[in-house]
Symmetry: C2
Subunit: 707 residues, 2 copies
């Protein structure tokens, strides 16, 4: 292992020096290299490894809690060994392993072979090999020949994670959906091939990268498979700006300026970590291959709120029951990685205003560090009025705007895009926002059905079907509201019974709280205004004596439609309830289980909850599910307008009054707005400044103001 030893000494400063990083900082490039070399060192030198994940092995929470307590109190910091988590294959085999490397000690601590039916995520190199295998296959070429495509037509292969149906699917496989590009425009590499789906689909096996089967696709309203027929020309459907007949000419620039700079500070912590401070908030930003952004140690005005926040999982099952579409059920985080797929964000394109970018580092299949430049953008945005009141007796208005801090990543998962953002505001609220955009996953449909359709999809272009599908997300909240002994409760509002003494007019209603005693899945109920809250009953509001709490506002959604006996249901262990609550255990991070690719279930949050642990006043984790049943509109093609989902965490009796009261008033001297025309009734471009600088100040005629 001379070579490995050499890499080791040249690429990393020293094993000991890695200790200086904060224990929650992501691995550095050097640490990734060191880790890969240490793992390689346990194998003979002729064994080639395909690395899937090389990432920080987060310290056990117990250790970290002590560390953070020491850190915040200024006490000496405990020593926590720096460790890396690794998953890898022996290249070109199905031998899949998991290892933990102790970087502080410079040794591999554990290294075990996994399986059967445990598969690692796809990686970029593998996807390219699968594409190549599909495109070069003789059977595929023979099938293409039967379509009699115009000469020069470009063919595209979209590898899909195979999914699970229990039918000969123990091997690691990819289902490849085939498309062509517009034959009339073969030189345009960015022509939208999803407008030209082809009616067959090779299956590629991933040890030898060979096509093992060619599936022919049903293109009618039932299971019938047609013989391959010559292609009938259809028009293209392009999203590129230069392909549009014309672009709008009447949109004027709108610019966001922060002439005095940003209000946040972003302090690097080691090579890869960052501490963000903004408007009384503080937290650490981590990043990994799977979840992308992870926030740790989230505090408001130094008060502890959340130990860890991240998007834990997502599942996208499709509605078409027919082979092979019945297996389409993507887990974009576990199958591919939100971190790995993050876009390189461009100033002025993806982000408007005064922006700071973060760069992360993950591994490639060879165990080499890959920098992900600009994978997170950090900026402030104006979110409209924060609060306002006008005293109608004096006419004096008090108003503040709601400034938000946004940390945003955009991920591309083959055809589709998700814009993922954590937002913080000045009223102590955290918002997680998902914008779904990108291109629908399409399949061919017979032209006879273009204007008739099928009930499990929408025709979005002649000969093109976009099947209905669900997007179900799981946001993982590891709370520490004023400490680590928290509980989950829910409030419900109920009408009081009619009672001639107490409720004679039938108008009364009350709100009652229910404590969730045991781990499990729970659901929203709008008819009862059921509202979930994370609470610390040991800490009481000084004014009204209520336990400090944060409530969860999440939009209701249709839970997973697949049958409880289906693999879809078994695998998507979070998709059947709005809320799960479990006791905290290290490594229980992913709602659908650690390895989602061709998974079989039994390793996700439904399984964690099955321990039936008491979840009252202990270290709990709350999993919030949300999503959409995407019934495509033709307006969602060729690229869909963003569909926006938000989950909010809001303080309830956590503060003793509106925490945004001390936001400076919204004033013209600060905002410098402008009048669009002279069709106005403002006395001057500068509004009148009232007493104490309040420009929305006293009316000119107190007592005569407008009601």
């Amino acid at each position: 292992m001379a070579a490995a030893a050499q890499d080791f000494s040249s690429a990393t400063p020293s094993v000991a020096k890695a200790d200086i990083f904060h224990p929650l900082c992501p691995l550095t490039g050097a640490e990734i290299t060191t880790t890969a070399n240490l793992v390689r060192s346990v194998w003979p030198s002729n064994v080639d490894l395909r690395f899937k994940v090389v990432t920080l092995d987060e310290p056990p929470k117990k250790q970290m809690v002590s560390y953070l307590e020491a850190e915040h109190s200024g006490a000496p910091l405990p020593q926590i060994p720096r460790k890396a988590f690794v998953s890898y294959y022996i290249r070109n085999t199905d031998r899949f392993h998991e290892a933990v490397v102790n970087l502080s000690a410079g040794k591999v601590e554990s290294n075990v072979r996994l399986g059967p039916n445990v598969h690692g995520n796809g990686d970029y190199d593998e996807i390219l090999q699968v594409e190549k295998a599909a495109l070069e296959d003789e059977g595929v070429k023979a099938a293409l020949a039967k379509l009699k495509l115009p000469e020069g037509t470009a063919i595209t292969a979209d590898p899909w994670i195979y999914g699970s149906d229990g039918v000969n699917d123990d091997e690691r496989l990819f289902q490849v959906f085939m498309y062509m590009r517009d034959p009339a425009n073969p030189g345009e590499l960015d022509s939208n091939h999803y407008a030209f789906p082809l009616p067959f689909s090779p299956v590629v096996e991933c040890n030898t990268f060979k096509v093992i089967r060619l599936d022919y696709l049903p293109t009618g309203a039932d299971n019938t498979i047609h013989e391959l027929r010559p292609y009938e020309p259809v028009p293209p459907n392009e999203y590129l700006p230069e392909a549009q007949p014309s672009l709008r000419k009447d949109l004027k620039p709108l610019r966001v300026l922060q002439p005095e700079g940003a209000s946040f500070t972003l302090t690097p912590a080691g090579e890869t970590g960052h501490v963000v401070e903004w408007q009384k908030w503080s937290f650490r930003v981590g990043y990994n291959q799977r979840e992308g952004m992870v926030l740790y140690d989230v505090r408001y005005d130094t008060r502890p709120l959340f130990y860890r926040l991240s998007l834990s999982d997502m599942n996208i099952p499709y509605a078409d029951p027919r082979h092979p579409f019945h297996k389409k059920a993507a887990y974009d985080l576990g199958d591919a990685g939100a971190g790995a797929m993050a876009n390189n964000l461009k100033l002025g394109c993806d982000c408007l205003g005064h922006i700071q970018y973060l760069t992360a580092v993950i591994t490639d299949d060879k165990g080499l560090p890959v920098p992900l430049e600009n994978c997170v953008c950090v900026h402030e945005q104006d979110a409209g009025i924060g609060w306002k009141h006008t005293n109608y007796r004096t006419g004096r208005a008090a108003v503040v705007r709601n400034r938000e801090l946004v940390l945003q990543s955009i991920i591309t998962v083959s055809n589709y895009e998700y814009i993922l953002a954590f937002m913080f505001n000045q009223a102590g609220e955290v918002i997680y926002e998902v914008r779904a955009t990108g291109i629908l996953s399409t399949q061919p449909i017979d032209h006879e059905l273009d204007k008739v359709g099928v009930p499990f999809g929408t025709v979005v272009h002649p000969g093109v079907l976009a099947a209905h599908h669900q997007h179900i997300f799981s946001l993982r909240i590891d709370p520490m509201l004023e400490g680590h002994a928290n509980r989950l409760v829910y409030d419900e509002a109920h009408a009081m019974p009619l009672d001639k003494d107490w409720n004679p007019h039938g108008v009364g209603y009350t709100v009652a709280e229910t404590v969730v005693e045991r781990a499990g899945g729970l659901d929203l109920n709008a008819d009862a205004n059921r509202t979930f809250k994370i609470q610390n009953p040991a800490v009481r509001n000084p004014v009204n004596g209520k336990p400090v709490a944060y409530k969860i506002h999440a939009p209701p959604f249709q839970k997973l439609l697949a049958h409880p006996s289906s693999y879809h249901f078994k695998r998507a262990e979070f998709a059947d309830h709005n809320i799960y609550v479990t006791t905290h255990r290290d490594r229980e991070l992913y709602a659908g289980g650690w390895y989602t690719n061709q998974s079989r279930g039994g390793t996700g949050v439904r399984s964690f909850a099955a321990r039936n642990d008491s979840v009252k006043d202990t270290d709990i984790v709350v999993w919030v599910q949300f999503g959409i049943n995407h019934v495509p509109r033709i307006e969602d093609f060729p690229v869909m307008p963003c569909e926006i989902l938000k989950v909010s965490l809001k303080p309830v009796n956590f503060f003793d009054r509106n925490p945004a009261l001390d936001v400076p008033p919204s004033e013209q001297s600060f905002n410098q707005s402008t009048l669009a025309t002279n069709m106005h009734h403002q006395p001057a471009l500068e509004a009148t400044v009232g007493k104490d600088g309040a420009c929305c100040g006293p009316a000119e005629q107190p007592g005569k103001s407008r009601l």
Copy 2:
């Protein structure tokens, strides 16, 4: 009537000249004066009238449809008489009347006395008289004396619409809730009196403006009424910026500039109307005392969408079952008027960016026009990314931002504020947004209960209870999707049954549409993904043959909790269903009925629906209800952070592809964003411009781009 005739000729140009206005333009000040004079002219000159409403009597829809067709086709315009609707009292009596004045003919067309149990809205002058009556009443003074308040303490009276309980409430009454201002700061007129509620409440009758009863308030956990006890000092709870211990000093300015001006055009139509054109949208903005903003003739790319859009009603019933709180059930639009209560918006305070303001005119109690300056602001805002796709094979990203046009009003209803906005985007979507803010309506609670509480409210300050309450809004949508024969349908997604041939793996699901045949109330069902759509089946999508439609995205909410036998339930005729659909009839504009003040029910949308009309392919109206059950947090006091609700109307198979495809790409040359620090990895301040000006263009190494 010499005096009236004189006013008439001096203040209005001429009756005939009023004809030149567009039939949907609000009344001008001159028309209001003319109308009031004409109504006065039918009474002896010694009869004094109290005007409640003088507003445009909108032409019958049938006439208007012909007019709009002519207008859009350039045909000669039909003559439509200009009319005014008036409601008024014989001053200081309960004699309440409704009149229609034909301004084109210069005559009163109808004039009828209403009642019994029909009451007009409050007006500003009346509210002041009620306050005065309460404050000057000897019984009130005697009660105050028993509280032994510090010398110089200022007392405040908050008149509340009386509500209905059927107990001696035929008269026109106000229930007045009493407060004091901070005795330690008597000179501060804007001190928050809601932190100092007093334990009694006079009832004022409105013919003579006399206190007819003094209600003592229950302040414990039950119905018990204490003897008045001397006041125990409590601290104040102020929202004024200068009253805060300190304001945040680390918030940097964020400015929105439109150096080339706004993208919209706002064309005055007559003195009071406006036509807005923006990004293929066009519509007329009207304004009235009750609804505030009303949008008419909303079109996209000339295609008709909505004949009329407005907030129709809102109801705020409270949870406390005890007398007199059981009657608290505000109808802010019908009882007071969203138009009448609109704030005078200030540049740089209420609106950020490049703003245009509209001024409206309503009547006062004397029939004189009152200009409402800056009651609507119009501006554009950036709403993040509109759509994005990155081709992972080439690395080329296509991305546009989502620009929105906003029309916003802010209303103050005594203690409370609503920020009401219509928003339009470039993807053919209309959004109606409500932000609830302002101050909770408070009542006294015994200090013994401060840390114990009651189940129908939250203690928000020592001795101060904020009762739970519901906010239930009704948005009225009068559609004209490609014509006036529309229908309401809903889609539901259902799992396919397990079937060994057709759905062997249990994953399939289908979407089925149900046509709503008859007028009535309907509900959301998240478990079925029930989605309501307004459809025109006579016009089909050219690609997929589906009827053109707009779907309604509205958040679910807990319906009215009050018992079906209660007055709350009888009056709030919209509050029991997410959706109502009715056939269109002129004057059926308000979901809770035309006169909500002390109403008895039977005049709102539930009653319109009871006709059981066929609503299939005819002129329909769709009423969308949404709201919140506001269980106060202490964070909602002394002024609450905005709670945001949105209803979206989105095209479904109305266009033949994403209508925002022709939005120019998001580019740095246009957006001119800036980097927050040099901690970045952008090659330069200007991003690289790719082919055809796409700055998010090709990756440097095609084929090697990030997944």
